[in-house]
C-alpha cells in the first residue's frame, strides 16, 4: 500500500530540515551574526560552506552511522549515543529556556516562563511522537505557512531599510570572520543527527541535492534577515538589542493598517518552527536509541523531563545562554567532526580490506 514502509520523501526531508532550523537560527544566529556587521555575514557564509562540506561527508557516511557498532564496537557506540543524547538534551533545554522566556515577555504576560516551557514541551512531544512519517507530514503541512509568513515579513521589513544604516560598517577582520564562521558551525552541530535518518529517505543515494538545497535556502534566508536587520536598525542599533529579530517583527506591519500590530503573527510562526525543532530533538533521542513502544514512550518522557529540568535550572542563574553555545562550539562540534572523519576512515579501511 501507499507509503506503508516507514520511509519519507526527499521533499519531506528538505522541509523538515528547513522548518527545524529556520526558527531557532533566525532568532539566535541571525541576530548574533548581524551584530558583527559584514564580518558576521562573511563568517556566516564561510560557516555555511563548511557545513555544506560536512553535510556531504555525513551523507556519504550515512550507512556507517547506522551500522556504527561494526566499526567502533559496542562500547564506542554507547559512548557516541550518550554524547549525542546529552547534546540533544542540552540543546532542547537551551531552546526551551530561550523560547519560554521570549513567550513570557512578548506573547503572554502574567504566566511564569516555567509553566509556558512545560506547555511547549508537552505540545512539542505530543505533536510529533515517535513516528518518522508523522514528523515528515507535519513538516510538509507547516512549511508553506511558516515560509510564506517569514518571506512576507522580510519583504515588508525590507521597506524599512535606510541606506545610511550601512554607513557605520565594522572594519574587516579575518579573526572576526573566522569566529563567526565557527559560531555558525557550532549552531550547525545539530546536523550531526541527520545520518541516523537518511536511511529512511526514498532514493537515499541521491540526497545531496535536497540537503544542500535546504542548507542554501536557510543561508539565503538568514543572510537576508541579517542584512535587513543592519539596514533597518544600523550596526549600533542592532548591537544594543538582545533579540533583534523580535524588534524587526514588531516594526513590520501589513499595508492597509487594518491591524495595528502584526508582530504577534510573526511570533506565532516562529513558535511553530521552534515547536517543531523541540519535537524533533525528542524524536531524534528515541530514534538514536532505537527504542519502540512503551520503552520509547518512557524514554521520551524521561528525556522530556531532563530537557525541562535543564531549562528550569538554566533559568535560575546558571547562565545557560552563555555556556551552551560554548559547549556546542568547543566540545560537541569538534567531537562530531572527529567522529565523522574517524568513521569515514574506518569505513574506507574496512572497504579496502574487503576488496
Amino acid at each position: 500500500m501507499f507509503a506503508d514502509n516507514d520511509r519519507i520523501s526527499q521533499r519531506q526531508l528538505l522541509r523538515q530540515m528547513i522548518l527545524a532550523l529556520l526558527g531557532a537560527w533566525l532568532l539566535f544566529l541571525a541576530g548574533g551574526v548581524c551584530q558583527a556587521g559584514q564580518n558576521g555575514l562573511a563568517g556566516m557564509a564561510l560557516g555555511f560552506l563548511l557545513l555544506a562540506g560536512w553535510l556531504l561527508l555525513l551523507i556519504r557516511n550515512a550507512g556507517v552511522y547506522e551500522n556504527m557498532e561494526h566499526y567502533i564496537g559496542k562500547a564506542g557506540r554507547l559512548l557516541v549515543i550518550i554524547v549525542y543524547l546529552s547534546f540533544l538534551v542540552l540543546t532542547g533545554s537551551f531552546l526551551l529556556r530561550k523560547i519560554s522566556s521570549l513567550c513570557g515577555e512578548y506573547l503572554i504576560s502574567g504566566i511564569s516562563p516555567e509553566f509556558l516551557g512545560l506547555l511547549l514541551l508537552l505540545a512539542a512531544g505530543a505533536g510529533i511522537r515517535n513516528d518518522i512519517q508523522q514528523r515528515a507530514r507535519l513538516a510538509e503541512i507547516f512549511y508553506p505557512f511558516v515560509m510564506a509568513g517569514f518571506v512576507l515579513m522580510l519583504i515588508l521589513a525590507a521597506f524599512h531599510m535606510r541606506a545610511e544604516s550601512f554607513a557605520d560598517a565594522a572594519a574587516f577582520s579575518l579573526t572576526e570572520v573566522a569566529r563567526e564562521g565557527w559560531r555558525t558551525l557550532g549552531a550547525g552541530a545539530v546536523l550531526a543527527v541527520l545520518p541516523f535518518l537518511l536511511g529512511q529517505v526514498e532514493q537515499e543515494k541521491r540526497l545531496k541535492k535536497p540537503l544542500l538545497e535546504g542548507l542554501g535556502k536557510v543561508w539565503l534566508f538568514l543572510t537576508a534577515a541579517a542584512v535587513i536587520l543592519i539596514g533597518t536598525f544600523g550596526l549600533e542599533g542592532v548591537r544594543r538589542m538582545e533579540v533583534p529579530v523580535i524588534q524587526l517583527m514588531a516594526g513590520t506591519r501589513l499595508p492597509g493598517k487594518f491591524l495595528e500590530r502584526f508582530d504577534i503573527v510573526w511570533l506565532a510562526l516562529l513558535l511553530c518552527s521552534i515547536l517543531f525543532a523541540l519535537g524533533s530533538l525528542l524524536f531524534y533521542g528515541i530514534h538514536l536509541t532505537g527504542m519502540r513502544g512503551d520503552k520509547g514512550r518512557i524514554f521520551r518522557a524521561a528525556m522530556g523531563a531532563l530537557i525541562y529540568g535543564g531549562s528550569v535550572l538554566g533559568q535560575e542563574g546558571s547562565r545557560m545562554e552563555q555556556w551552551y553555545p560554548l559547549m556546542a562550539e568547543r566540545f560537541y562540534l569538534p567531537f562530531f567532526l572527529i567522529l565523522t572523519l574517524a568513521l569515514r576512515i574506518f569505513s574506507r579501511r574496512t572497504g579496502k580490506k574487503r576488496r
Partner: protein
C-alpha cells in the same frame, strides 16, 4: 447484480456460503429431508410464534398428488398469488407438470424462472425465507427452491436529502442494498466492478456489500476491511454507522476515517478513483474508504462546474473550516491578551460593546456557543419545517434577548454566529463534528493563553492529523506525500485544475493505475 464467483458458486450448489462476518447459518447445519412432513415439522419448530411467516400446504403435479409447502413472509410476497405474480404463475405451471417429473423440472429450472435457487441446506433455505423470498418444499424432493418476490417493503429512489447539488443526478441511495448496488452498476457498466456481499449480524443477518473496481484498488485494503469486519460477532447491524465505528482504527480521533455519501453518482465516481464502497441493507448511507481530509471538503458537483468557481468555493470552504474551529478562540485571544493588534477605533468599539456585560469574555462565548448548539440540536430533532423555524427564530430571539439583557456583547453574538455559519459551509455533516468539538478546546486555549495557546492548539491538531491514516493512506493526502513512491498530485485539492488536466487518479488507486483520462492515441497530457 453480479456476485463474486465464489459467492455465485456457493449459491448454485446450495452449499453453506462462507462470509466475512457471521455466516448465514444460525444453528446446526442440516440437509433438507425428502419427507415433507419432516421439513414441515422442522420449520414449524423454528418458526413457532412467528405470526408473520405463512405456510401454505398444497398439492402439485398434473395428478395433484405431490404434497408441497410454500413458506413466505406475510408482506414480502405479493398477495395476488395465482394470477399475476411470478410465484402464482410458477405454481400454476407446476400443476400442469406430470407428478413424476416435478423434481426434474425444478432441478433443471425447466420453467425458465429467472430468480430461483435450489438449496440443500435447511438453514440456507430459512435464511432465504427471512431475506424476503418464498421457499417451496416438495415431498420426495431433498431441496428447497427459493422463489424471489417483491421482498420487504422499502423506500423507492428519492432525491438526495443531505447532499444537495445544483447540478448532476438527483438520485439518492435507498434502504435496499440490492437497489443501491444497482444504482452504482447503472453508472459503471463494467464487469470490473465487483460486488462482494457479506452477511453480518448473528440475529439480524443484514446483507452488506463491498463494491469496488477490482483492478484499481489496493487488494490489501480490501483484505483489511474483511478482517476488520470478520473479527466482530454482533447481534444486529442496522446502519453503516455501526460498521464505521467497528472498523475505525483510530477510534479515539474525532475525525471520521470513512466518508459517507447518499449519492450514487458520487459513490460511482469514488469507485472509479480506486476507493471501496460499503453498503448496508436498511441504510441509505454508503461508506467510502479510504478517505482523506480533502475528500470531506469536496462535493459531487465539483466535477461538473468550471474549475475557477470550484477552486474559489473550495478555498471558501477551507477558510470556513478554519473559522468554525478558531474564530471564537482567536476573538478571545485578541480581546483578552493582544489588544495591541487592533486599531484603536476597533478596540474602542469592542470596549463600548462590552460595557455592562458582567461575565468575562470566555463565559460570554461559551454561553452563546452552547445556546447555538442547543438551537441546532432542537432544530434537527423538530419535525419538518418547524426545525428551520426554530433555528432562525431561536437564533434571533435568543441573540437579541441576550444582548438586551447585557448577558453578552453584540460582538460575541456576531463572532459565534459567524462561527456557526462557517461550520455549515463544511460540505459533509460528519466532518463538522470534530470542528464543533475542538472549537471548545480553542476557546479555552485562546481564553487562557492567548495566541500562544492557539499556536499550541494548531500544532497539536496538525500533529494529530499528520499521524492519522485511513487504511494506510495518510489523512492529509494530497497535501503531504508528494514525491513519495512516485506519487504525483492529481491537481484536485484546494485548487482544482481544468477538467482536461485532471488526468490522474488520487492516491487510493494502485500505483500503476493512476491515469484516469488521456486523449485517444496520445500519452497522458501531463506526461505519464
Amino acid at each position: 447484480m453480479k456476485k463474486t464467483d465464489k459467492t455465485q458458486a456457493a449459491e448454485k450448489t446450495g452449499k453453506a456460503q462462507k462470509t466475512g462476518g457471521n455466516t448465514k447459518s444460525c444453528g446446526t447445519v442440516g440437509k433438507i429431508s425428502v419427507s415433507l412432513d419432516e421439513n414441515e415439522a422442522w420449520l414449524k419448530e423454528r418458526c413457532a410464534n412467528c405470526a408473520d411467516i405463512m405456510m401454505h400446504k398444497m398439492y402439485l403435479g398434473r395428478e395433484a398428488d405431490v404434497a408441497a409447502l410454500l413458506v413466505f413472509g406475510e408482506v414480502t410476497v405479493t398477495n395476488t398469488l395465482l394470477e399475476d405474480s411470478l410465484i402464482g404463475k410458477m405454481m400454476n405451471e407446476l400443476r400442469e407438470v406430470p407428478s413424476g417429473e416435478l423434481a426434474g423440472v425444478l432441478d433443471s429450472n425447466a420453467l425458465g424462472v429467472a430468480d430461483t435457487i435450489a438449496y440443500e441446506d435447511r438453514e440456507l433455505a430459512l435464511a432465504a425465507l427471512l431475506a424476503g423470498n418464498a421457499v417451496l418444499f416438495l415431498d420426495g424432493y431433498p431441496k428447497a427452491v427459493k422463489i424471489a418476490s417483491k421482498g420487504y417493503p422499502a423506500m423507492v429512489v428519492q432525491k438526495a436529502d443531505t447532499e444537495k447539488a445544483l447540478r448532476g443526478s438527483r438520485e439518492s441511495f435507498t434502504e435496499s442494498v440490492k437497489l443501491n448496488e444497482a444504482l452504482v452498476r447503472k453508472r459503471i457498466r463494467n464487469t470490473g466492478l465487483k460486488v462482494e456481499e457479506i452477511t453480518l449480524g448473528k440475529r439480524s443477518a443484514t446483507v452488506t456489500a463491498l463494491v469496488y473496481m477490482e483492478d484499481l484498488i489496493y487488494p490489501e485494503i480490501l483484505e483489511r476491511i474483511r478482517q476488520e469486519i470478520g473479527q466482530w460477532e454482533i447481534d444486529g447491524v442496522f446502519d453503516t454507522g455501526m460498521l464505521e465505528q467497528l472498523c475505525q482504527k483510530h477510534w479515539l480521533s474525532p475525525f471520521p476515517q470513512f466518508e459517507t455519501t447518499e449519492r450514487p453518482d458520487r459513490a460511482a465516481m469514488e469507485v472509479l478513483n480506486g476507493r471501496i464502497l460499503f453498503l448496508c441493507d436498511n441504510s441509505p448511507t454508503a461508506l467510502v474508504f479510504p478517505t482523506t481530509f480533502n475528500d470531506f471538503m469536496q462535493v459531487s458537483e465539483d466535477r461538473y462546474h468550471w474549475f475557477g468557481m470550484v477552486t474559489f468555493l473550495r478555498v471558501l470552504r477551507y477558510l470556513a473550516m478554519a473559522a468554525a474551529l478558531m474564530i471564537s478562540g482567536c476573538y478571545l485571544a485578541v480581546t483578552c491578551f493582544h489588544t495591541q493588534i487592533l486599531p484603536t477605533n476597533l478596540l474602542l468599539s469592542f470596549a463600548e460593546a462590552r460595557k455592562g456585560v458582567p461575565f468575562p469574555g470566555i463565559i460570554e462565548i461559551l454561553l452563546m456557543e452552547m445556546a447555538f448548539e442547543l438551537i441546532r440540536e432542537a432544530g434537527v430533532r423538530m419535525p419538518g419545517p418547524l426545525g428551520g423555524t426554530i433555528g432562525i427564530v431561536g437564533g434571533l430571539i435568543i441573540g437579541d434577548a441576550a444582548v438586551s439583557a447585557n448577558l453578552v456583547s453584540p460582538m460575541t453574538v456576531v463572532v459565534v454566529a459567524f462561527s456557526a455559519l462557517s461550520s455549515f459551509a463544511i460540505p459533509k455533516e460528519e466532518f463538522t463534528v470534530p470542528f464543533r468539538l475542538l472549537k471548545y478546546g480553542f476557546i479555552f486555549l485562546g481564553g487562557f493563553f492567548g495566541i500562544f495557546g492557539i499556536v499550541l492548539g494548531i500544532y497539536l491538531l496538525l500533529g494529530h492529523l499528520a499521524g492519522l491514516t485511513s487504511f494506510g493512506i495518510p489523512y492529509l493526502m494530497p497535501f503531504v506525500g508528494k514525491g513519495l513512491e512516485d506519487y504525483r498530485d492529481p491537481g484536485d485539492d484546494l485548487v482544482r485544475l481544468p477538467f482536461h488536466l485532471l488526468t490522474l487518479r488520487p492516491v487510493f488507486a494502485r500505483r500503476h493505475q493512476r491515469v484516469r483520462m488521456r486523449r485517444k492515441g496520445e500519452k497522458d497530457v501531463r506526461g505519464q
